[in-house]
Structure formats: structure tokens, C-alpha cells
């Protein structure tokens, strides 16, 4: 019943080609300048690109392995995998709150503990958490009772809250926020009752302001960046800082916003906007030639894409994601098997949410949360996560439904076409 590994099916090929284009653009963005600033040092871009390409090849191998195993085998082991990922998150918390770094194994970066450093590379357990979370959720939600009743919903909520809290303590707000659209999207597609979903949203809206108050002021100002772009809003804070104390932004910060905490956003927008329609050309332009834009090869890589290749380049990148999403939805809708179907939608939600949040923050419509752009941004763990996620997606398309599979979980009377 399973197709051979090399037979990717039609949507599978679409996804593979889109991913290849995105990875290539990411490598080109790194190679645009001779050196890349990493943590205050300049590293040769050839070294960086080589490393990224190496990771991509490794990811390819991993993907083939996943296609070979098949998503169903992995889904069966999803609970242990989820549990291992949870365990992997613990060293970060220990380092952060007990000061024990496991002999330098868990380094601090800008006040956060997010990765485990191994010889030659480092791992971000929170990235792996994302995939194992989707897998485990898909495995659990395949039973109807699990999402139609409030008791059944308790476990997925718990599934979400435990990793979210652990990651929040690292802290890595961006990854935490990613869990919410994925959870919501999967529950919604699975067919959870609207009133349950509404209750969850309501609860989130009540909790959100309290969470905001508890954040560090630098986190607040990053979130407030969307509003702080506006000169009039900054002027209002300057005029009456007492009234806007809840924003966590004081008068001085409002005054200096453009050159301090807002500097990154201002420059990212300038890089993107100054690309125009056709862009400055590969390796050209102020923000490529000079080291003005921090994180230009990872979180803000989209700004560099727009700077070099202009609006057309941006549309190409967004087009690739649209292709992945549409292919993913196609896969989900032709798969009668509930777990595979949910898995496909989870991956679609994950990739589209990352894209929307990352591009949104680059253009100043979303808070700056430290989110990578899937496949394009530099970073091994992120690349691997997204490769694994898409491999699972393709794997779903490759697998025919089991003949003994339970009835599809809809209980409405709408038929569905099963494409073999």
C-alpha cells in the first residue's frame, strides 16, 4: 500500500520543489556578503553557507528516513517521543534557575537559555518539541470522543501547556506563541465544538493581559513595537508617561525608540522598503554591504530577501509557502485516515503560522518575537524541524489509508473523495 520513497505524489513534488527554492534563497542570502556577523564576530559567509548546506543535506537524509519509516510508525511512538522532548527541555530550566550549566553544555545567549551545545553544533530542543507536539496531538485527536467532549479536550490542553510553560521559562516567547495557532488549527479542523474553542479563546484573552504584565520590560517593548512605530503614539507616551505605564515603555525609551529598542525594526523596514520592486541585486545594497541589520541572516532574513530581490523576490518566497500550504491541504483532504489528516493540517498550520509571524514582524505588523522564517533563515534546528515536518506531510500523502482504518471521523453526511 505504501508508495516507494522516491514517488512523492503530485502534491509531494510541489512541496519538495518549494522547499528547495526556499533553502536555495536562504543560502543565497547568507552568501550575499563576504562575512556574516555572529555574536559580535565576523564569520566567513562561505563557512556559514557550507554549514547550512550540510545541515540541509543531513535533513534530506533524515527526511528520506522518515519517508521510509512512514508517519504511522512514528505516530505510534509519538507519546514517548513527546516525553523525550519534554525531558530535553529540562536542562535549560535547570541552567536558568539553578545556574548549573552542565559544564558549559547549556550556554547563555542574550539572557536566555535555549540550546544545548554539542561539539560542532548546538540543538534547540524547543524546535523539536514543535514536531513531536503535532505528532502527539494528531495521534491523540484521531478519536472522536477526544475532541468532542470537554473532558477529552483536557489532555490536548495539558499537552500544550506543559511544553509552553517550560519554553516560556527559557525564555523563548516566539516558540511559545507558535503553539497556540497550531493547537487551535488542529482542534478546529478535527471538528472540536465551536463553544469549546470559543471558551479556550476567551480564556486566552483573559490570561493574556496578566501574562503581558509579568513580562520583562524588553519583552514588553518588543511586543509594543507594533504600536511604537507610530510617531504619534510615541509622542503620546512622552506627553503622559503615567497614563501609558501599562505599556512598560517609559518616556526615555519612547524618545530613543528609533535608535534603541526599535532600531532593528526601523532598519528591517528600511531594508525591505528600499528594495523596491526589483531589489538592489544580489550582494548589493546598504543593508547587505554594511552590518546595520542585526540578525539579518536568521530572524530578519526576509528583510534581506526584500532588499536584494525586491517585491518580486518577496512574492516568490510567499508563493512557495502558499504552494506548500495548498499542497498540504490537498493531502489532508484526500487522506481519510484521521491521524494523517490531522498531522497534515498541523504541519500546514505550523509552517503558515511561522511564516505569517516572521514576515509580519519584519514588516512591522507583528511583535518581534524571535521567530525564524521556515527553510530560509539560518539555523540547523529550525531547518531540521521544518524538514521533518514536511517529510511527515509527504509521508501522509504517500500512504494509502489502511483498509482496516476506522471510519473517517466526520459524522456529518458529506461524502469525501478518496484518491488512491
Amino acid at each position: 500500500m505504501r508508495r516507494p520513497v522516491y514517488d512523492l505524489t503530485q502534491p509531494g513534488w510541489v512541496i519538495a520543489v518549494a522547499v528547495a527554492i526556499l533553502v536555495a534563497m536562504g543560502l543565497a542570502a547568507i552568501c550575499a556578503s563576504n562575512t556574516v556577523p555572529v555574536g559580535g564576530r565576523n564569520v566567513s559567509s562561505a563557512v556559514m553557507a557550507g554549514k547550512q548546506a550540510g545541515v540541509a543535506v543531513a535533513c534530506l537524509a533524515l527526511s528520506i528516513l522518515i519517508l521510509r519509516i512512514g508517519y504511522m510508525q512514528l505516530a505510534r511512538m509519538s507519546y514517548p517521543i513527546f516525553f523525550i522532548c519534554l525531558i530535553l527541555l529540562l536542562p535549560m530550566i535547570v541552567s536558568k534557575y539553578f545556574g548549573f550549566t552542565f559544564g558549559g553544555l547549556v550556554p547563555e545567549s542574550r539572557g536566555a537559555f535555549r540550546s544545548i551545545r554539542l561539539p560542532g553544533f548546538s540543538l534547540q530542543p524547543s524546535e523539536f518539541m514543535k514536531v513531536s507536539y503535532i505528532l502527539a496531538m494528531a495521534w491523540y485527536l484521531r478519536f472522536r470522543k477526544n475532541y468532542r467532549t470537554i473532558d477529552g479536550l483536557m489532555l490536548p490542553i495539558l499537552f500544550s501547556i506543559i511544553p509552553m510553560v517550560l519554553i516560556l521559562f527559557e525564555p523563548d516567547l516566539g516558540t511559545v506563541l507558535l503553539f497556540i495557532p497550531v493547537l487551535f488549527g488542529m482542534l478546529f479542523v478535527a471538528g472540536a465544538r465551536i463553544k469549546h474553542l470559543g471558551a479556550i479563546i476567551l480564556l486566552g484573552m483573559v490570561v493574556a493581559p496578566f501574562t503581558f504584565m509579568k513580562l520583562h520590560s524588553y519583552q514588553k517593548s518588543r511586543i509594543m513595537a507594533v504600536a511604537l512605530q507610530s510617531k504619534t503614539f510615541r509622542a503620546k507616551i512622552e506627553a503622559d508617561p503615567e497614563k501609558y505605564a501599562f505599556t512598560g515603555v517609559n518616556k526615555r525609551e519612547a524618545q530613543e525608540w528609533e535608535v534603541s529598542s526599535g532600531m532593528q525594526l526601523v532598519r528591517s523596514k528600511a531594508a525591505l522598503g528600499s528594495g523596491g520592486v526589483f531589489g538592489q541585486g544580489w550582494g548589493k545594497g546598504t543593508y547587505v554591504e554594511y552590518n546595520f541589520l542585526p540578525d539579518r541572516h536568521n530572524d530578519f532574513v526576509f528583510a534581506i530577501v526584500g532588499h536584494q530581490w525586491g517585491h518580486l523576490g518577496c512574492l516568490l518566497v510567499l508563493g512557495c509557502y502558499v504552494a506548500i500550504v495548498i499542497a498540504g491541504v490537498e493531502i489532508a483532504s484526500v487522506t481519510p485516515e484521521p491521524c494523517g489528516r490531522l498531522l497534515a493540517m498541523g504541519v500546514v498550520c505550523l509552517i503558515s503560522a511561522q511564516t505569517v509571524i516572521n514576515v509580519g514582524m519584519t514588516v512591522g505588523l507583528m511583535p518581534i518575537t524571535g521567530m525564524t522564517l521556515p527553510f530560509v533563515s539560518y539555523g540547523g534546528s529550525s531547518l531540521m524541524t521544518n524538514f521533518v515536518a514536511t517529510a511527515l506531510l509527504i509521508s501522509v500523502s504517500q500512504n494509502r489509508p489502511f483498509s482496516l482504518a476506522r471510519k473517517p471521523f466526520e459524522w456529518g453526511d458529506r461524502g469525501h473523495s478518496i484518491q488512491s
Partner: protein, 738 residues
């Protein structure tokens, strides 16, 4: 249901995508030019200001007196000086990032290392400077206080508190390093990233002690300076917190000329130059002072004063009688401008000699008899006396009251003497009080003060120095302001230059120049093309001849008051015409005792060196800010001179001698048609008799003048610097005094 929900989800994603695409179109297509401008701006380098130098000060002959010379300063970041916690945090973060203490050391480790290094730096600095840790701490305090005050002031002006430019700068804690020192400093301090050895300039004063008061000094800029800055609107000329500004003397009064204009360089990272303005050094200032004359007079004056029993101080002012340019302005004693800062406390506490006082312009004294020619002239002009009017001097004005309104001839001497009947010129020669009492009484106090005004008493002489005081002309409004009645007695007192009337040495010299030329002009200390206004003084030439004849007699007639002391040999071709003066002087306080109670309730008595009670309180509060005391309990501890009367039993007095040089023939008779060239005043504090003490010194002054100036003395040859007179056919707006 699944299909439907997928469609809803897709619609939501499509909506998000649409928003992003619209935003991208807005940024990259519609408003691309706005962001392109921003990108271009990002290429701009921060504008760099280029330092300038302050103008030089030259003497009349072009000799360099003051200039900026290159040197090196050790500057420390303000954040370290002030111990700003934000700066410390940022610095620790930076050091950690740089990996200076190993890449894996924690923030706490780095902060401990940083604090240790800052401590070590202070020790290194103190050792390098060998001024000790306390001295270094004082310097740092004064820098921080100054910057803090500027910050408060800026905040007041802006309406909110914000960091100021000066807080991001380094400030010099050790200044004026030589080339060798700076090399050593660089090797010691290069390990501290917050310490820099920077090029700088120091102000070098070459004039020595004799010019210290005139040249003044530069001081670090304070908030008050910035508030009253004349160039506040000029971006490149306005003051910054690391500048120095003139604080005294010519450095202060000529600040506007001396201050340079900074240059500016503004370019891009791509090497494009947008603006590049070279710095413009400040303009030079040329003094009218002859520094050689000044030095000689200062040395001579010091030697002369050393021989006097009570006097420790005095002043000599030499003017070009025609142009009123000041050729010399000696204030004795003085201080060394190069070590002023280090010795300030010693200088301040030397209340007997008061080396910091600029006596030539900043102290005024009763003019005494030197106003007598003026009184005679006023009497003649007003028709109250004639050239042949006589008053009979019987030693006292009223025979019935022999102890009041006496003539000096009768005072203090066991043998009662008198001048007998005298006419005006003789009255000047003898300095007869009785004649002046009578004339003054006839004129009345108010009339007298209008004549005082014509000769410049009671108003600044025009040097422009901030130290200058105007003396006192006891006009009716002045008398009203101090609530003193004007009586016939006032007129008599004023006529002999006593009571309220007061003049500075520079005013006295100018008074003499006016006697010599018949015109009143302002005194100038700086060469300029502008000659300034001239007021023709009233009076028939005969009247003027009377007073000049009298002054000739003072020095050259055998019975003149200064014949024995001041006469100069006729071979020189000049005669001295002058007037003696003695102004009664009470011994001045030099220290005060302040009984106080400190915060612990302990009481004590503090001896404070000061000349006035308010100074004493100020100095005391500086040292004991928390102590309480009752100002009424403060008493004078010591005075100078220590005895209330001199050895000869007379009261102490300041000795005046004012004179001018007039060419003469071989027989020693003045050539009246020649223009007089030089006028000068000598004031010796607690010198005693004007004739005996100041007259002697005046003769030495004339000697020095003839020696140093030589041929320049001829007014037709002109002592003024010709290069300032070239081409400007001076059409002076001659005015007649009201």
C-alpha cells in the same frame, strides 16, 4: 464538516497573506522612496567636530603673552567618573561580549573584574599624577558636580530630564601631559577601555606674575556660562561642557574674540564628503600694555614696597595721555598664573597681601588731594574764584575751632604751621586744605559732583574688565541711596577727596591724563581701530594753565609737596608734573573668629582668614557646611596694619601720587605747547604720606619710563602701535562735556 472547516482555515490564512502582501506593496512599491531615503541616511557617518584653538594674547609690541599649546590629557568616561549604574551594566555587558575575561565567564565574574579594574585605575592615576588619591577624588567630584549642574539646567530648559552630550564624553582628570608623559600614560592606561589619552591644548601664560591679573585665566565651563553664552545659537561656537572659558581679566572680557570656531566633518561610509568645515582659531587680542615696561615697574615696585613698614601692596597705572591706552597696569603683589590652581588656597588665605586682588581696577580708595586741581578748575570755571583770589590759611578753617577742618600743614606737628594767603596755583602746590574747603563750600557738593563726573569718577574707566569697579562719585542720588545727608561739610570733604568719594588707580591715572590734555576719554586696554569718543573739557586755557602750573610746582618748586622725592633730572628733557595725595585708611580686617556649634553639639572657635565678614562666613560654610553660628558673634581677630597709628603717631593712610611727563627746555621749564605724553598713578596701600612715599616711587616710575620707552615718549612720534592707526584718518566725534 472537515472540508468546510479546512475552507474556513484556508480563508483565514488567505486573509493573513493578503494583509502581508498589501503591506509589502505599500512598502516596496508605493512608499519605496521613503525607505530608500532611510537607507541612504543609514550610510551617513556621525558628524565629527574638529577642535579649534583659542586666540592668542599679544602685548603692544607683538610679544606673545598667552597662547594655546598642544599637550595631552588623560580622559576618563563620565560613566566611570560618576559611577552611573547604567553605564556599569552596559560596560559589563560589552566586556563580556568582547570576551576580555574569557568567553564563558559569567556576568557576575565580569562585574567583579570590572570593579577591580576601576579601582586599580584610580590607583594608577593617583600614582601617575603623584597628587594622591584625595586630590584625584576632588577633581572627579568637581567634574561630576559641574556636569550634574549642566544636566539639571538643560532639563529645566527642555522641560524633561534626558541624557546630555557631556555624559557620553570622556573628561580630563589629568591635564597638560608632555610628550614623554603621554607615551608613558598610553602604556599604563591602554588596558582600560574607558580611559583615553587625548590630544588637547593647554593655555600657556608667558607674562609672568606682573601680568597675571590683566591676562586673567580660563576656567572649565559651568551651567551658568552656558546659559549666558553669547554664541549659544552658533552650533560650532557655542560652549560645550568640556570647553574652557575666560574666567577673569582679558581672557574673560575678550572671550567673544578669543573663542575659536570648531570645524565639522560630515561624510558617508562610502567615502563621500557632505560638508567639511575647517576649524577657525579664535582672533588674537593685542593689548596696549608694554610687557617690558610692566615687568620692570612690577619689579621696581616690589623692591620699593619691601622697604616700607606697613605697606605690602599697591598699584601703578601708566597711560598714554593722548590716546588713554594703558601702557602698564601693575597690581602688587601678584601670583604665578601657571600654578594658580595648586596654590589657590594659599593665595586666598594670604589676607595681608591679597595677591588675588586686581588693585589697579578692582579696589577704590579715597582720592585725597589728587582731586584738588579739579576743584580749583571747577571754582574758576564756575566763577566762584578767580586766578588771583586768595584764601588765608591759618591752619584751620574756623579760628574758633582749631581742631576741626584743619590744613595738613597744621596736623600732627608740634609746631603749628600755616600756608597764609594762597592763590589757586599755590594752593595746589602746597595742597592747601583751607583753600579747597572754601572753594568747595562756594561751589556746593552738587556742583562738585558734576565736575567729578566729567573727569570720570564714579563710572568704569572703559577697560571692559569684569573686575573693574567704578569708584564713587557722591552725587545727590548716590547720597540718597546710602541715606546720607548732604551738608556744607560734605562739600568741604569732597573738595579734599575725602568722605564718600572714591577712585580706582586707573581712574586716578585717567584723571591726571585729563589734567594734562584738557579732554576726557575712556581708558583702553586692547588695541583697536576704534578710538572711542572724546569729551573736550570746559574752561579757559588760563584756568588750565593755573592747575598745571600748580602741579609743576608740586614737583619742581622747592616748596612743593614732592620736590625732594619726585623731581627728575632736567637732562632727560622731561619734567614731572604731579599731585600728591594721602587718603586716611583704617587698618583692614585680615581674619575673623567664628564661634560655632557643630552637629554633634560641640562648640569651637574657628579662625578664618578673610577681609570681610561675608567672605569669612562663605569660607567657613565651605569647610563646615553643617555647623551653626550666630553672625552677630563673629569678631575681627586681626587687622593689618596691626597698630591703629603709624610710628609717627599719625593715622594710617594710603599714599597717592599722580603725575604726567611734559617736555622741558634746558632750564627745566616745561614747553607748554608740546603735547604731554604719559600720565600715571601710583597708589601705595598704607604707604603713609603721598609725597614722601609715592613721590619717591613716582620718580622711579618716571626713571623706568624714560629708560624703557625712550624715543617712544614723544607723542608726535606716537607711542601707539602704528599698525592700528594706518589708513584710519580718525575723525573722532569730539563732544563737549555737558
Amino acid at each position: 464538516m472537515f472540508e468546510q472547516r479546512i475552507k474556513i482555515l484556508l480563508a483565514m490564512m488567505g486573509f493573513a497573506l493578503a494583509i502581508l502582501v498589501v503591506r509589502l506593496i505599500d512598502m516596496q512599491v508605493v512608499h519605496a522612496h521613503v525607505y530608500e531615503q532611510q537607507a541612504d541616511r543609514a550610510l551617513l557617518l556621525r558628524p565629527k567636530t574638529l577642535p579649534t584653538v583659542r586666540g592668542r594674547i599679544l602685548d603692544r609690541t607683538g610679544k606673545l603673552l598667552v597662547s594655546d599649546e598642544p599637550c595631552w590629557d588623560i580622559e576618563v568616561d563620565y560613566g566611570v567618573l560618576s559611577g552611573d549604574p547604567d553605564y556599569r551594566k552596559a560596560m559589563i555587558r560589552r566586556l563580556k561580549r568582547n570576551g576580555k575575561y574569557g568567553r564563558s565567564s559569567s556576568e557576575k565574574d565580569v562585574s567583579v573584574r570590572f570593579d577591580g579594574e576601576v579601582k586599580q585605575m584610580w590607583l594608577d592615576l593617583a600614582l601617575f599624577f603623584d597628587g594622591g588619591v584625595d586630590d584625584m577624588a576632588n577633581r572627579v567630584d568637581s567634574i561630576c558636580n559641574r556636569i550634574e549642574a549642566i544636566k539639571v539646567d538643560v532639563a529645566k530648559r527642555r522641560g524633561f530630564t534626558a541624557p546630555i552630550r557631556e555624559e557620553r564624553m570622556g573628561h580630563a582628570v589629568v591635564e597638560n601631559l608632555t610628550d614623554q608623559q603621554q607615551v608613558r600614560a598610553r602604556s599604563i592606561f591602554s588596558r582600560y577601555s574607558w580611559v583615553k589619552v587625548e590630544d588637547s591644548t593647554k593655555r600657556v601664560y608667558r607674562g609672568g606674575m606682573s601680568l597675571a591679573h590683566i591676562l586673567g585665566r580660563v576656567v572649565p565651563v559651568t551651567a551658568e556660562h552656558m546659559n549666558s553664552d553669547v554664541y549659544a545659537d552658533d552650533r560650532l561656537r557655542s560652549l560645550t561642557g568640556t570647553d574652557r572659558i575666560g574666567g577673569a581679566g582679558i581672557e574673560y572680557s575678550m572671550e567673544a574674540q578669543l573663542r575659536g570656531t570648531r570645524g565639522e566633518f560630515h561624510g558617508t561610509r562610502t567615502g563621500e564628503v557632505l560638508t567639511s568645515t575647517a576649524p577657525v582659531p579664535g582672533s588674537d587680542v593685542q593689548l596696549t600694555i608694554r610687557s617690558d615696561l610692566q615687568t620692570r615697574l612690577f619689579e621696581m615696585f616690589g623692591e620699593q614696597i619691601a622697604e616700607l613698614p606697613y605697606s605690602r601692596s599697591g598699584s601703578i597705572v601708566v597711560l598714554d595721555a593722548q590716546s588713554r591706552e594703558c601702557l602698564a597696569m601693575v597690581s602688587y603683589p601678584s601670583y604665578d598664573p601657571q600654578t594658580f590652581g595648586e596654590h589657590y588656597n594659599l593665595l586666598r588665605d594670604d589676607t595681608v597681601r591679597n595677591p588675588l586682588a586686581f588693585r589697579a581696577v578692582a579696589r577704590h580708595y579715597a582720592p585725597g588731594s589728587i582731586v584738588k586741581p579739579l576743584v580749583c578748575l571747577a571754582g574758576l570755571i564756575e566763577g566762584q574764584i578767580t586766578t588771583s583770589s586768595t584764601f588765608d590759611c591759618q591752619g584751620a578753617l574756623f579760628p574758633s575751632k582749631p581742631d576741626r577742618w584743619r590744613c595738613w600743614a597744621a596736623a600732627g606737628s608740634s609746631v603749628r604751621r600755616r600756608h597764609g594767603p594762597v592763590v589757586a596755583w599755590e594752593a595746589i602746590k602746597y595742597s592747601c586744605n583751607i583753600f579747597m574747603y572754601s572753594t568747595g563750600q562756594l561751589l556746593g557738593a552738587n556742583k562738585l559732583t558734576t565736575y567729578f563726573d566729567m573727569f570720570g569718577l564714579g563710572k568704569a574707566s572703559g577697560t571692559g574688565l569684569r573686575e573693574e569697579v567704578g569708584g564713587i562719585n557722591p552725587t545727590p542720588s548716590f547720597m540718597a541711596s546710602i541715606a546720607r545727608p548732604i551738608t556744607p561739610g560734605s562739600a568741604r570733604q569732597f573738595a579734599i577727596g575725602q568722605a564718600e568719594v572714591a577712585a580706582t588707580p586707573v581712574q586716578a591715572a585717567n584723571l591726571m591724563a585729563s589734567y594734562a590734555t584738557g579732554e576726557f576719554r575712556h581708558v583702553s586696554l586692547v588695541c583697536s581701530n576704534d578710538e572711542g569718543p572724546v569729551w573736550e573739557l570746559p574752561g579757559d586755557p588760563n584756568y588750565w594753565r593755573v592747575i598745571r602750573r600748580g602741579m609743576f610746582g608740586v614737583v619742581n618748586d622747592t616748596d612743593g609737596t614732592a620736590f625732594t622725592q619726585a623731581r627728575i633730572p632736567t637732562e632727560s628733557g622731561y619734567v614731572l608734573l604731579g599731585k600728591t595725595g594721602s587718603a586716611e585708611a583704617v587698618p583692614a580686617p585680615i581674619s575673623y573668629e567664628i564661634p560655632y556649634e557643630d552637629i554633634d553639639g560641640k562648640t569651637g572657635i574657628k579662625l578664618v582668614f578673610a577681609n570681610t565678614k561675608s567672605d569669612a562666613i562663605g569660607f567657613f560654610l565651605h569647610d563646615y557646611p553643617d555647623a551653626t553660628f550666630d553672625p552677630r558673634d563673629i569678631e575681627v581677630a586681626d587687622r593689618w596694619p596691626t597698630s591703629m597709628t603709624a610710628e609717627n603717631g599719625r593715622k594710617h593712610s594710603h599714599a597717592w601720587f599722580v603725575a604726567y611727563l611734559q617736555e622741558c627746555d634746558a632750564a627745566g621749564q616745561p614747553l607748554w605747547d608740546k603735547k604731554p605724553s604719559i600720565a600715571f598713578a601710583v597708589m601705595v596701600e598704607y604707604g603713609g604720606s603721598g609725597g614722601r612715599v609715592s613721590g619717591t616711587i613716582a620718580q622711579r616710575v618716571a626713571d623706568v619710563l624714560l629708560n624703557v620707552l625712550g624715543p617712544d615718549l614723544d607723542p608726535d612720534f606716537s607711542t601707539s602701535t602704528d599698525r592700528f592707526r594706518d589708513g584710519s584718518e580718525a575723525v573722532s566725534d569730539r563732544e563737549t562735556s555737558p
